[in-house]
Amino acid sequence: MNLRDPAEEAPRAGLWRDAGRRLRGSRAAMLALAVIVFLVLLALFGPYLNPNHFDTIDWSCIAMPPGLRHAHWWGTDRLGRDLFVRTLQGTRISLAVGVIATTVSLIVGITYGAIAGFVGGRVDQLMMRLIEVLSGLPLIFFVILLTVVFGRSVYLLFMAIGAIGWLTMARIVRGQAMVIRGREFIEAAAAAGAGPGRIIFRHVVPNIIGPVIVYATLTVPQIILFESFLSFLGLGIQEPQASLGTLIASGAAQMQSAPWMLLVPGVILAVLLVCFNVLGDALRDALDPRDA
């Protein structure tokens, strides 16, 4: 007799495998992911493909339209600086800022939400009340004040934005933590002799991490948008550094005579935002088996 564990026969299933399969099944999500990867690689290595530097001024090519005949593939701005290199440099800064601020908001939000959800009771009520008050405030105005306080240190500023933007994350994690705390499989794991560390890392974290990943994917574009918005208002990245926001701002001022100065960074920003949002939505669908 050749008895085998039926679990080995069945195709291996599980939350992550199912989610991965569903995600790969979504053509839009795969396309968005491919575009994001491409843009990240382009932002990292693209500037080295072009002989120009982001702040060198080419006096012979002031406000040159895009074209492949000359070295300025995406044209130049009105100071003769190469837009291909500047746009990619800006994309790099936008992405870095998005990732940094999202990471900060994740760390703060998960810690806060997990404490509120697991401790519960009075502590939870108090912590949630604080979130309610904070989310009723016009945070943009505090961010504008912070830009003035932190001034030129861009990364410090975005750590501050991330530290402000953790509210939704904390809510999500708290909700998850509260649900999971009362579930039977936690009790079963405890009954089977699992210690608190094993329960947290093997049973709780995997159940929280899904929504966290989804929300993080949707936070990155929000922060990128926010950074561009601040830079557009002249509060974020300062010259000669460029971010997509500053490039769009200077492009908008020249749009009649040189529309490409607006279109090049504008299109990159829009594509980046669309792709992150599509990917985030698809991840949400993939990780939430109820809607499948």
Binding site: V133, G136, L137, P138, L139, I140, F141, F142, I144, L145, L146, T147, V148, V149, P221, L225, S228, F229, F232, L233, G234, L235, G245, I248, A249, G251, A252, M255, Q256, P259, L262, G266, L269, A270, L273, V274, N277, V278
Partner: protein
């Protein structure tokens, strides 16, 4: 109801006070003052200016003075717009900003709910896909790209509408800014309405209504819409915050004389009173909006009728 309303209004006072306090000390902690400019003034002049505006006092004397002024409805003088008080600047700019914001929000609500319902009733068809595409576009195309692009197309190439500027009583100047401002909340509202409408249409009592033979129109408008609007109404407070934020950029690009520019300029120029005045106006509007949302939610859904 009235009792609840008054209680909530009273509860807003400490919140506003906390906001004012935090902002006050934050902006005063920033290095630099309102009279530091490229042109250095002589020490005597600076000293006189500081004395005139009370800037030579300790910060917290300034704070109590400022609060005392606020109690009398006085936002103080602007440091940079000489001869103007902050109250006057707000009175001049607020009507423009409010009109712009109110039109944009109403349009976003009406069109968003309409599109959402239409998409939910034609699920997986062309209309639905178009609505989803619109929702993604609304999230992904920032106002500071959209408005210049619209300006370029309708203002520069087609010459249908003015690119920027403002004349009192001329709605032509509002068209492009309103479209830009309403798109993000419109897209989000359409998405919320679609999702909740699909859910409500699958519920038992809607099936009963179909079984009774009611026409679709009656079912949607009389039975399904009310519960489906709950998430939309909850979203209105963040939507107003989003519109305020968008308004900063849109007013700047379109050259509208609203209050949006004062906040950024004020913060850059250390115009303490102007920044604080802006923060107070925006916070008060937002708190009021939150209150209206809660009242509307109570009216829409008996389960959240307010205790108190």
């Amino acid at each position: 109801m009235l009792r609840y309303f008054i209680l909530r209004l009273l509860a807003a006072v400490p919140t506003l006070l906390a906001i004012v306090t935090i902002s006050f000390f934050l902006i005063h902690a920033v290095p630099g003052g309102p009279f530091d400019q490229e042109q250095t003034l002589s020490t005597q002049v600076t000293r006189n200016l500081d004395a005139e505006y009370g800037l030579n006092q300790p910060v917290w004397v300034q704070y109590t003075r400022y609060l005392a002024g606020l109690m009398h409805g006085d936002f103080g003088p602007s440091f940079r717009y000489q001869d103007f008080s902050v109250g006057e600047l707000i009175r001049q700019g607020l009507p423009v900003s409010m009109t712009l914001g109110a039109i944009a929000m109403s349009l976003a609500l009406l069109a968003g709910v309409g599109i959402g319902i239409a998409a939910a009733l034609h699920r997986q068809r062309l209309l639905d896909h178009a609505a989803i595409a619109l929702a993604i576009a609304g999230v992904a195309i920032p106002s500071f790209v959209l408005l210049p692009a619209l300006d370029l197309f309708f203002g520069v190439y087609l010459r249908w509408l003015p690119v920027a500027g403002w004349e009192p009583g001329s709605p032509r100047y509002f068209v492009l800014p309103v479209i830009t401002l309403c798109l993000p909340p419109l897209a989000f509202i359409a998405r919320l309405t679609r999702a909740s409408m699909i859910e409500v249409m699958q519920s038992g009592y809607v099936r009963t209504a179909f079984a009774k033979g009611l026409p679709l129109r009656t079912i949607v408008l009389r039975h399904a819409l009310r519960p489906a609007l709950v998430p939309v109404v909850s979203y209105l407070a963040p939507a107003v915050a989003m519109t305020m934020t968008g308004s900063l950029v849109v007013e700047k690009i379109a050259g509208l004389p609203g209050i949006g520019r004062y906040l950024v300029q004020g913060a850059l120029n250390r115009d303490y009173t102007l920044v604080l005045g802006m923060v107070i106006v925006y916070s008060a509007l937002l708190i009021l909006m939150g209150l209206l949302v809660d009242l509307t939610l109570g009216a829409l859904d008996p389960r959240v009728r307010l205790a108190g």
